[in-house]
């Protein structure tokens, strides 16, 4: 009998499937990994915004040097000589990529430049807007969670009950009523008709009420909805049933098992809503003349004040990153399981 030698080769057949390579897991502790990822995100979003602002500058009508000279010395003192001086000083004759590199280098040194409108230092001018926006966002978020979470919890206790259905109507209602309309409505009701609260301004504690409520109405509905769904799902879960059959009373089950697990989902959801919150901040600030980043940005865009546009936009984006960083770290503290898939966004 003659045996045919087996034909063998190591790699004749391609692997049948190719997907994205699984992420390599380093030995970094989870918190360090989260912080590293968010730091990278902060850098990349800053670069993106900064580059966009550079393009804006390049596309501005009129001679860049004249505009900057006007910003530096005042409109009535601009001469060809001063414009040339600016041109030479800033290297505006250099190719675009060299200018972009300079632009980035300035940013890397935290040199945000001066406002083209007021001539003041951007860092200095943004101090008040940053704190006002933070104040508004934090108040709105606290209000939304403080109202939404308990309502959702109560709605979950009787699925299909009155409160549950009211929550559904509330969510649908806030979806139909965009923040700017809601803001108008609140102004008309509480400021114009009732005269209880000031519509615009900043300074006293009562000023923050209307803008914060405007933001919180929509958010709290969403939080109520998510809390309700999470708690309802948890109540049917294996470990809650087991806790009950172990002999725990309803309140003990809630305190020891439902709350923390619901917190994991809710905290992640806050992160997912950070964008909506910041977007709302921009709108509501314009509506209520709240001296925050959003209003500053809209004004700066109106005047094409590029250094301020850049600083305000970066600050808003970093606010989103900051919220998500806090959310990630809180999530790690609440949930010991390794995160195989990152929570959005």
């Amino acid at each position: 009998m003659t045996t045919v030698p087996p034909t063998l080769a190591a790699d004749e057949v391609e692997p049948a499937v190719r997907g994205p390579a699984p992420a390599r897991r380093g030995t970094l502790p989870p918190v360090a990994r989260v912080l590293a990822r968010r730091a990278l995100q902060a850098v990349s979003v800053t670069l993106l915004v900064s580059t966009a602002c550079f393009v804006i500058v390049q596309n501005l009508p009129g001679d860049m040097a004249y505009r900057i000279a006007a910003g530096r010395y005042g409109y009535d003192r601009v001469t060809t000589a001063s414009a040339d001086a600016v041109r030479a000083d800033l290297g505006l004759d250099a190719p675009a990529w060299q200018q972009l590199a300079r632009w980035w280098a300035d940013l890397a040194q935290f040199d945000l430049g001066t406002s083209l409108v007021t001539g003041g230092s951007v860092v200095h001018e943004l101090r008040l807007p940053v704190t006002s926006s933070l104040q508004l966002a934090a108040t709105a978020l606290a209000l939304a969670v403080a109202v939404g979470a308990p309502v959702g919890m109560a709605a979950a206790w009787r699925p299909g009950g009155l409160l549950d259905r009211l929550t559904t109507v509330w969510v649908a209602g806030t979806r139909a009523l965009p923040p700017f309309l809601l803001g108008l409505l609140l102004i008309m009701l509480f400021s114009v008709h009732l005269g209880w609260l000031p519509a615009v301004g900043h300074g006293s504690a009562s000023n923050v009420v209307l803008p914060a409520v405007t933001l919180a109405v929509g958010l709290s509905g969403l939080f109520a909805r998510v809390t309700r769904d999470t708690v309802a799902q948890l109540r049917g879960s294996g470990f809650v049933t087991f806790a009950e059959t172990k002999g725990l009373r309803g309140r003990a089950v809630l305190a020891r098992h439902v709350l923390r697990n619901a917190g994991v989902t809710l905290v992640a959801y806050v992160g997912a809503q950070a964008l909506i919150l910041i977007e709302g901040v921009v709108v509501v600030e314009s509506l209520f003349a709240w001296p925050g980043l959003g209003r500053t940005l809209v004004h700066a865009i109106f005047w094409r004040d590029v250094p301020v546009i850049q600083a305000a936009a970066v600050a808003l984006a970093l606010l989103v990153v900051l919220i998500n960083t806090v959310v990630d770290v809180a999530g790690l503290a609440l949930d010991p399981r390794p995160r195989w898939r990152q929570v959005v966004p």
């Binding site: 997907g19 979806r175 965009p178 969403l222 964008l275 910041i278 314009s286």
Partner: protein, 279 residues
């Protein structure tokens, strides 16, 4: 993601599945269709919404002018139809662009992996920290306003959402046993696209796109309201509300009508999705 129509067998023809829409979904669809008809028919009934007639300043509603005339004597109904048309068309165009771009990039990233995935994912990480409004504002500052700017800005702001969902979902599908089996059966990439990825992504994209149209309409009107959207002579929902607001006491219908159109679009799209699901 479950919809109200899960009980319908997959092999039923499409029209039969349509019949299984819930009453809410039917009402929502009807409202949206009516609104669309109003927007389209408005172009014939009021051919020139910009025509001014100052002698008809704040004219109250009548049969010929169901919503009266505004402070410049322009037909409010005509302007509203034009604004609705503009909003819906721009929103649909933005979402379509964002869906196509985002989905293609997402599938590409998930399938190819490696450097393509790294680059696209890195870009999306930056975009995802930018509120959509901010992107639109930046883009409009970049090129000086106008409808095209708004379209580009909104599409640019939204692609990342589709990219991330499609990338995550495709990676899951592509690494799953069904695609592994298809690989062993040597059925080729077309089979994977047609039988595995597309059927899995389609319901997801439909839901997201419905939501995206609402977001776009809202963003357009918000920008108009804030004063950085479409430039004033062109009728736009948000702009109309701002313009009509000073005359609220004399002519409340002028501000209420565009707000109602906006609410109808948003609620209609919400109702079309069926059961409210939290994404």
């Amino acid at each position: 993601m479950s919809t109200a129509t899960t009980t319908v067998p997959a092999h039923w023809p499409r029209w039969q599945r349509l019949r299984r829409l819930s009453p809410t979904q039917r009402c929502a669809a009807a409202a949206l269709v009516l609104l669309g008809l109003f927007a389209v028919a408005g172009a014939w009934v009021w051919p020139d919404p910009a025509a001014q007639d100052l002698s008809r300043f704040l004219e109250p509603p009548s049969l010929a002018e169901p919503l009266g005339r505004d402070h410049l004597g322009r037909s409010v109904a005509g302007r509203l139809a034009s604004a609705t048309r503009l909003s819906l068309a721009t929103a649909v165009a933005c979402v379509a662009t964002a869906v196509v771009a985002g989905a293609l990039a997402g599938v590409l990233a998930a399938w190819r992996g490696g450097i393509v995935d790294t680059v696209l994912h890195g870009l999306s990480e930056a975009f995802v920290a930018l509120p959509a409004l901010l992107v639109v504002l930046l883009v409009s500052a970049m090129s000086g306003g106008g409808l095209w700017t708004l379209y580009a800005g909104l599409a640019l702001a939204q692609w990342v959402e589709y990219f991330r969902v499609v990338r995550a979902r495709s990676a899951l599908v592509l690494s799953g046993p069904a695609v592994e089996a298809a690989g062993l059966l040597q059925l080729g990439p077309l089979h994977v696209l047609r039988r595995h990825l597309w059927p899995d992504l389609r319901p997801l994209l439909t839901t997201m796109a419905t939501f995206g149209v609402g977001t776009s309409v809202l963003a357009l009107s918000t920008l108009g309201f804030v004063g950085v959207g479409i430039a004033p002579p062109t009728p736009e929902l948000g702009l109309m509300i701002t313009e009509a607001f000073p005359y609220y006491d004399e002519a409340p219908w002028m501000s209420l009508a565009p707000a109602l159109v906006l609410a109808t679009v948003l609620v209609g799209l919400l109702g079309l999705r069926g059961k409210e699901s939290v994404s």
